[in-house]
Amino acid sequence: MTTIPYKSYLEPQGKYTGLLDWLTSTDHKRIGLMYMYAIGIFFIIGVLLGLLMRIELFKPGETIMGPQTYNGIFTVHGVIMIFMVVIPGLSAVFGNLFMPIQIGAKDVAFPKLNLLSWYIFMAGAILAVLSQFTGNGPPDTGWTFYAPYSTQTGTNVLMAVTAAFVLGFSSILTGLNFIVTIHRMRAPGMTWFKMPLFPWALYSTAWIQLLATPIVGITLLMLIAERVFKIGFFDPALGGDPILFQHLFWIYSHPAVYVMILPAMGVITEIIPTFCQRRIFGYKAIALSSIAIAGVGYLVWGHHMYTSGMSFTARWIFSFLTFIVAVPSAIKVFNWVATMYKGSIALKTPFLYALAFIFLFMIGGLTGLSLGSLATDVYVHDTAYVVAHFHYIIFGGMGFAFFAALHYWFPKMYGKMYNQKIADIAWLILFFGFNMLYFPQFVLGLQGLPRRYYDYMPQFETGEVLSTIGGFVLFIGIIMMITNLIIAARNGPQAPDNPWGGKTLEWTIPSPPPMENFDTPPVVSKEPYDYE
């Protein structure tokens, strides 16, 4: 506890009161929290849409909705979850909240731009939500907007695409801000290799956001132009090539997967040393593997298109590169586990989430190998197997890392402690629900159930029923976790400044942090995970 009274960033800062005080604030921590509340709401909407789909799939034939509604729902579920939850998720929320503190800075490099990014994000999000209720019904293309279906369908694709374009713009600006911040704002003495690994991950992520997003931006613009002016970029009737759309789309959307997972890996890399009370094993290997993943990650988009009719040459080149990109991820897993060796392990909630992350991420990653392999991908491509795979990566990976980060930094964010017992139970329910929901999808995919199916043959019923039940278990876990945290944020007991014994800079300042982060700018001389 600090002895001198201070004003935390959560308290009113004068000038304006109430909501306006927040909406005009350029403080990185407040912007981070604003992202979190917004993303939290979108996440719940996405989850509810997912549950509706699960109910529909509970038995073959029409259960609660018609096929058009179902197609709209899985599109909206995808658009919300991908563009509004997982892509901004960790970097915009925890990157904003803690990256500047971890590198000993007062704020990001361009605080006003940071606030602008949030407004652009909200504008895009509102457009995305509006696209559901206006025009000719919700878009029904799937979040991938594949041409020429997306240029032909009469539904409200235009607005959804515009929304994705605007959201991409916000993502670019956040990335730009983070790169400049990390280059220019590190505390004196904090060399690149004395920087904690979460900022390292964010740095790699920011480059992807910056350099990949424009490609999807221009692709979506072309799609808009095609729909409005009949230019025919992707419509074969006008000379266009639908496969080119897929190339352009995946040049962005594959790296986007790393926008989700790299910060997640960064979070896990922060949590493991803290709860093992040990320096991270292989600091440099982890830092550089982030850069490697970001770099090679640009060159593997074609593995989403093995069956698209690409040339054989392109297929095997992409397969080869895909297998290469698996290696740096493996290195990270080995280093995490090695960090636990001879540590002094405290099984607290954040660490439990981190363990779940490693396990689920391994399943997601290893099943990814069979999708990267040419022969096996032909079999399971676009089946429920892919659905299971990417939910293991995105939800089991990014989602669980988000929950881990939430429980890890919660005491710092709010200065309050949550009920750890309830948090642990919620974790257990989440973990079981998750596996029950998605594991059957692997089996269904191997049985030959294509994805995005409204109806299915009777042989798939067992798996779908299990999956639906799992969905509800998972939902209970989410509600329990969130309720626990909301109660804690309101009435939880005071949290100490450093509840877990962390070594990075955010644990050296009061909880919740003051507006200026540090009383005196810190000077760094030691390595980030120095437990000597």
């Binding site: 704002m185 505390a187 190339h247 988009w301 690409m310 040339s311 040459t313 392109a314």
Partner: protein
């Protein structure tokens, strides 16, 4: 946090810019003239080659890359390489269909 207020500023003379402009204009006219030479297969390569030279000159002098921080040079090269790899990989598909 380093303040680069007092950073050494390279000031380019006016005549340098004038000279650069003359070179760029000359290259432009060469490109336009090339079209009439019927070089068939080579003309695209030459036109793009000249465009790249022009772009490099603009980057180096007008955009001050030549006198600026090393970081910017590295980043520009990296971005160009990234774009080239996009092109190459896409054409791994289109050229071998």
């Amino acid at each position: 946090m380093s303040n680069h207020k007092a950073e050494h500023q390279h000031i380019t003379d006016y005549w340098v810019y004038g000279l650069i402009l003359v070179i760029l204009l000359a290259l432009t006219f060469i490109t336009v003239y090339m079209v009439h030479l019927e070089l068939a297969a080579w003309s695209v390569a030459i036109a793009l080659g000249i465009a790249s030279v022009k772009a490099t000159i603009v980057l180096a002098y007008f955009m001050h890359l030549k006198f600026d921080n090393m970081l910017f040079k590295i980043l520009v090269v990296a971005v160009v390489m990234l774009f080239v790899s996009f092109i190459l990989l896409t054409f791994a598909d289109y050229l071998y269909r």
